[in-house]
Amino acid sequence: MTLTLLDELLLFSGATLLVALFIGRGLAAGWMVTILYGGQLLTLLKMAALGYGGGIIASSLSFTVMGQNLSWRFDALSWFFALITLGSALLSSWFACGAWERSYAKQGGNIWLFHLAMALNVLSMLILLASGDLLSLFIGWELVSWAGFLLMALAGGVATQAAMRYITYAMAGGMAIFGGLALVYSSSGSLQLDAVLIAVESMSTTKLWLLVILFGGGFGVKMGLLPFHLWQAPAYAETPGPGSAFLGAISSRMGLFAILLVLVKLFGIVNIDSLKIPFTLIDARDLLAWIAVFTIIFPTFTAMKQNDARHLLAWHGIGQGGYMLLGVVVADAMGGAGGLLHVFNHATYQAALFMAVTAVIHRTGTADLNKLGGLVVRMPLSFMVLLIGIIGLAGLPPMNGFVSKWLVYRSLLNEGMPLLFLAAVIGTLGTILSVYKLIHNIFLGQLRVEHEQVKEAPWSMMAPMLILAAIIFITGLFPGIPLAWVASVQEVVGLPATDYTLGGVESVSGSLDMIWVIGVLFAGFGIGAVIFYSAGRSKRVHQLDNYAGGHFLSADVRYQYSDNFYAGLMHLVGGWYRGSFLWLEKSVISLIDFLSLVMQGLYRRANAEFYLLSTALFVMAWVVI
């Protein structure tokens, strides 16, 4: 059997797993695993034809079990997601080797298990991305959710609780998908993609509704859509540094990949559009859009109240997931491109932000926003990476986040959905506010006494952060590069493709050319600098030489405002945080507790014979009547 490129990739990934498994003990193992990820990325680039022209590379491995044949293949969609997966894996594991590894091992962390979990995650994600039919999709899906559980649970203590909560959600999602799979199998007779495609046309609306709910809910759990989003923030935040960077960047986007593959490609947006919710004028697509929009707003405003940097970023991860789904669900040329581009952009700046915060934790030992401050003087490079990251996350012009958000807004504008547009903008503004709190509480303000001797993050951690920052800026300047891949993905998935240029998007109703916009922006900065620096040199002043209403500041007084950062806003909005989703989750758990108590009572001191007789009589009566 000839080894196709896909086989090479999967074997390479398997080899990385074996390397991590067997020679993971030594400190050099980290570097070896990183190099192997690099190798995987190269083999993926060899398949670059997929990313530009489309087409399919099938794997020679396919077998039939119990009457179902399983096959694996790669197309533009899987290539695009695989590129992001391997990119973030390479940079995360590079970040993990060297200094971070030593300090993690010193704190009692198990480095071998960490590299093993990362390699397992990458392999299972590649298998999921390469799934050729619904059954291999489900197998890949379960592998990914269990590998994710391993990576989340290895930090012990709070992380294990968060991982436990995740696995219960993931199992519920998995079972919903399994139910959906069974329904599809029963109506179409086979799980091959083309057979299902035909069967979808002939499906009754109620069955299609059931399938949309099952698949949407199942994949939504992994993406952290609204009702199921509670697990994601603590789970991603508690994973050890580079692990959270990797998970935050790509792990929950697997849900979007599956939604694209199943809901968009198989069921087709037009079918979903035709599913009307009775008595209301919204249909399934609007429902998904509104879920996406609420997923943007609520997590973003929850992020604002977080006091731990990692939790703040993890909550934003959920919020940004809403943009991607919104873009994909609006499904016109620009919306689809915006949603897909946002997957790439978000992966870059989320990984950069998590790495920067891990660098701060590495140096100062804490991520608590109320125990940091003024680190810009000691860690300038990390500040710069965090700044670039938050500009991307907030979606402001020079960075790539702006391009994808602009595309999503333009599609909402073209489709004429004012309320969705408004909600998306509220989400963005909320992001800007909470993101500023992040950078202010960590890097700006008064430097604490104990952080006087803090040095810049070591080079093994700084290099991947700088590379990511560079990627963010370059793809911001030339969005054409990722847009090329996005366009080929749109063809494969069946969305209308966008006509993109190197600088941005060309369209009759207003176009965007980032090269000009950024050029003008930096020209403006130049003129501003000229005006500013024309006025001679300014004297650098110590941080305590500050206006304090006449008092003399001394080092022991804490002259920093960081706690309850948006007090004004919280006066009005504070009342709305009622944790209704948390209450919902608690009520489900207490219901199960109560039922299990009833059942145990049934078994504990129950009068067994009475039950036996009553059932026998009941059954006899039922038979006789």
């Binding site: 108590l597 145990q600 009572g601 504990r604 001191r605 009068n607 014979e609 009475f610 007789l613």
Partner: protein, 159 residues
Amino acid sequence: MIPALTPELILYATAIGLTTIGLAGVVLSVHLFRMVLSLVIAEAGVNLMLVLAGYRWDAVAPILTSLGEQPAMVDPVPQAMVLTAIVIGVGVQALAVSILIRIRQRYATLDRWEVAERMDADIAATAGTPRDVSQEAPLGERPLPPIPAKRVDPSGSES
């Protein structure tokens, strides 16, 4: 109107009656030994039922007395089965009584609820799990103010 009281119907009625009395005895009684005895009654009832399955009124007991022409005989198979059923029944009851003696020695009572309670306490003790279902400590967070710490547990059975 009572259906015609053919002897066959009476026998069926007694068989089913015996079984129901036995089963009701098991369900209603509290003392373990009484339950075993009512089990005996139930088995007797079912055995009668089994014999009746192959019974014919105008036939004689299925014993080959002479080689020549035989009178109409009753179906011997159920009777053979009843033999084994009775033997099994006796075996089980003997085992039951011997176990009852053991329980009497260990638990000093044969009241079924008491035995069940003691058994649960023992299982929980060997496993080392706290007994969460007890009247003294209601389950779940206490809506009321917490119980004062130093309160002696009346049942004293806490191991």
